[in-house]
């Protein structure tokens, strides 16, 4: 809305008449906005499908993804194998379904760790300022200079996996790599968000009442500064998923026998010209998952931003 619209509609759109609706928090206003947005629903449905796929793959397929039927290798999609079979005879559909787990695990945990570390450091830097801020900001600058993917490759190459590295250990290493490289952008975002919220009069009012710094941060600063971090993290989730796929594709993330979309894509390159269906399905699922998180992040940003209402 333009300035003119806002003035015309007036600050009086809010009301005192008792008949007019109950309490409407900003969160519930944001939710109302989200509900109306079709992109939100599309992304939620997609994400739910993939999360369930990761948690309970058996719901989607009874086939064992590790079962290789060599004589049917490179089979086109048919009634027995809906997505066909790859060059080693694995059922592509089953492998794609089971591959969701790696992506979701990495995405979720990498995001959680970047948010926790980044938000904590960002709040300290923004709220206290001074030496702490300078120190944290310079460290942030250094880490920001390292490109995500390259850093990930270097990390994984420095701590190589063996053939019998357990699944969770490998996933854990990828999560660690992403967490170490991803926290600075969240920290910087949180810091600037805190710096915008801090000078507001309601924060000064809390100080004037004698509130402790912890109370001020918890009660006043965090709830108002979190929004940009939430939006960016949601989008980052998608990015981390694609990084995991890339690392696995390059052979330094998850490796066979572990199942991952990146591994499937890597395997498919060999037979790309003749049997493109082997590449198609894992790539499709990967793209859809990343897209779903990006769309969710977009929808959430629009819902939180009062100016776009």
């Amino acid at each position: 809305m333009t300035e003119a619209t806002t003035i015309a509609v007036g600050a009086e759109t809010g009301t005192t008449q008792a008949t007019e609706g109950g309490a409407r928090s900003l969160a519930s206003d944001a939710w109302r906005q989200l509900k109306k947005n079709p992109i939100f629903w599309v992304s939620v449905v997609l994400i739910l499908i993939f999360v369930v796929m990761a948690a309970v793959p058996q719901l989607f397929t009874q086939t064992d993804p590790a079962e290789a039927i060599l004589k049917n290798a490179r089979e086109r999609p048919n009634a027995n194998a809906w997505f066909g079979r790859d060059i080693q005879g694995y059922d592509i559909y089953a492998r794609t379904v089971y591959g969701a787990r790696a992506s979701i695990l990495v995405g979720v945990f990498a995001t959680l760790s970047t948010v926790v570390i980044g938000a904590l450091l960002g709040v300290i830097a923004g709220f206290y300022g001074g030496w702490g801020d300078t120190l944290i900001s310079r460290i942030t600058d250094v880490f920001l200079a390292i490109p995500l993917l390259l850093g990930g490759i270097l990390f994984m190459a420095s701590f190589p996996n063996t053939v019998d590295s357990p699944y969770m250990v490998v996933v854990g290493k990828v999560v660690l790599a992403l967490g170490l490289l991803g926290w600075p952008s969240i920290a910087r975002l949180m810091r600037s968000s805190v710096l915008q919220v801090k000078p507001n009069d309601y924060v000064q009012a809390a100080r004037a009442l004698g509130a402790s710094p912890l109370r001020i941060i918890r009660s006043h600063i965090l709830p108002n500064a979190m929004a940009p971090v939430i939006v960016v993290s949601t989008i980052n989730l998608g990015v981390y998923i694609s990084v995991e796929a890339t690392l696995s594709f390059l052979g330094i993330g998850l490796t066979p026998p572990a199942i991952s979309w990146g591994v499937s894509i890597s395997d498919a390159l060999v037979a790309l010209r003749t049997t493109p269906h082997i590449l198609l399905f894992p790539s499709l699922f990967l793209s859809l998952t990343v897209l779903a998180f990006i769309m969710l992040g977009d929808a959430v940003r629009d819902a939180f931003d009062p100016k776009t209402r």
Binding site: G14, T16, G22, A23, L26, Y202, Q204, A205, L209, A211
Partner: protein, 346 residues
């Protein structure tokens, strides 16, 4: 004679200006540069001035939202800047603040009940937990809001109502002094009178003392008992409302009063306008001697050298504090006393 409940002595606040690659201090913004005054129990002291005069910084210093560069504030016998921790927190119960902007002074994510109730969470011994909700509703009622709206959020209220919420928060702990930093400037004209009347009513009922900081000279005249005029970080004139408005002795006050348009077109040609040339100098580089001498119509050589002291100077009827070497009273506005005449009340 009432006793002084708050005494400010030589308050100074300088902000460092950092420049260059190494960010070393290259100068200071002298926002408040030696301000002293007293606030008496039960009165309203108005502080007026234009932008850059330091009145808002002064308000924050009095609340200890900023630490002074030097100077002291003695509140109720206690030296405020020497208090720490628990003692300071206890002191804060007695001196509270109401902010200017109704849109940023309330946390948009909290309900009105939480906002007005927060003082009781921070100072749990003032009201026991069971009684808090009721107390909050009483406060909302006291400031003219519907207590049933306790669960609503700030954005559901108008500007004037939000200001009332801010006032309710300010008086929740029953303070002795309320610092009001431009409380009505951001409100519509028809709502300003409501809030001003509310503040006067609360002052009577609760025995509050106000420091009313504003740039609107008419509102300040209406609500204040005594008035201080600030210019570039210093107090130019300080006296009873009557003395400062009817017999101003400082040339800046005189110029300021002459510039205020009065809602009476018949006074158009009759008003004498003292036009100040140029802009207000920067507080980072204030003029030497008397701060006002670069724009003053009376300035002489002495003014660029000697800083005039804020001392009692005669004003034709009595004497009041003025910081000018050549202070002399001049009637800028012809005051009419309307307190006897029957005024319609809303």
């Amino acid at each position: 004679m009432a006793e002084a409940i708050l005494t400010a002595t030589d308050l100074v606040k300088h902000y460092p200006i950092r420049g260059g690659v190494l960010r070393r201090t290259v100068g200071h913004v002298k926002a408040v540069d030696g301000v002293s005054f007293e606030l008496y129990k039960g009165e309203t002291l108005g502080i007026v001035g234009e932008s850059g005069c330091g009145k808002s910084t002064l308000g924050r210093l009095l609340m200890r939202l900023e630490e002074p560069t030097s100077g002291s504030v003695v509140f109720d016998g206690v030296d405020m800047y020497k208090q720490r921790g628990r003692a300071m927190r206890k002191l804060r119960r007695d001196i509270q603040i109401v902010f200017q902007d109704p849109y940023t002074s309330l946390n948009p994510r909290k309900t009105v009940g939480d906002i007005v109730g927060e003082p009781f969470d921070i100072h749990p011994d003032v009201v026991p937990r069971q009684g808090r909700r009721k107390k909050v509703q009483e406060l909302l009622d006291l400031v003219g809001l519907n207590p049933e709206h306790i669960n609503r959020y700030p954005h559901q209220f108008s500007g004037g109502q939000r200001q009332r919420i801010g006032i309710a928060r300010g008086i929740a702990l029953n303070p002795k002094v309320l610092i009001c930093d431009e409380p009505v400037s951001a409100l519509d004209v028809s709502v300003q009178a409501q809030v001003v009347n509310l503040m006067e009513k609360l002052q009577d009922e609760l025995g509050l003392s106000y420091i009313f900081i504003a740039h609107d000279l008419s509102v300040v005249r209406h609500i204040s008992d005594r008035v201080g005029v600030m210019y570039l970080g210093k107090m130019a004139e300080l006296g009873d409302e009557d003395q400062v408005y009817s017999r101003p002795t400082h040339p800046y006050t005189q110029a300021l009063l002459s510039a205020v348009p009065v809602p009476d077109p018949t006074l158009r040609e009759k008003r004498e306008q003292i036009v100040l040339t140029g802009d207000v100098p920067s507080p980072a580089n204030p003029p030497s001697g008397c701060r006002f001498h670069t724009r003053c119509f009376k300035a002489q050589e002495r003014c660029s050298v000697d800083v005039p002291e804020l001392i009692h100077r005669p004003d034709g009827v009595s004497a009041h504090l003025s910081a000018c070497h050549f202070a002399s009273p001049r009637e800028i506005i012809e005051t009419i006393d309307v307190s006897e005449v029957g005024q319609p009340t809303a």
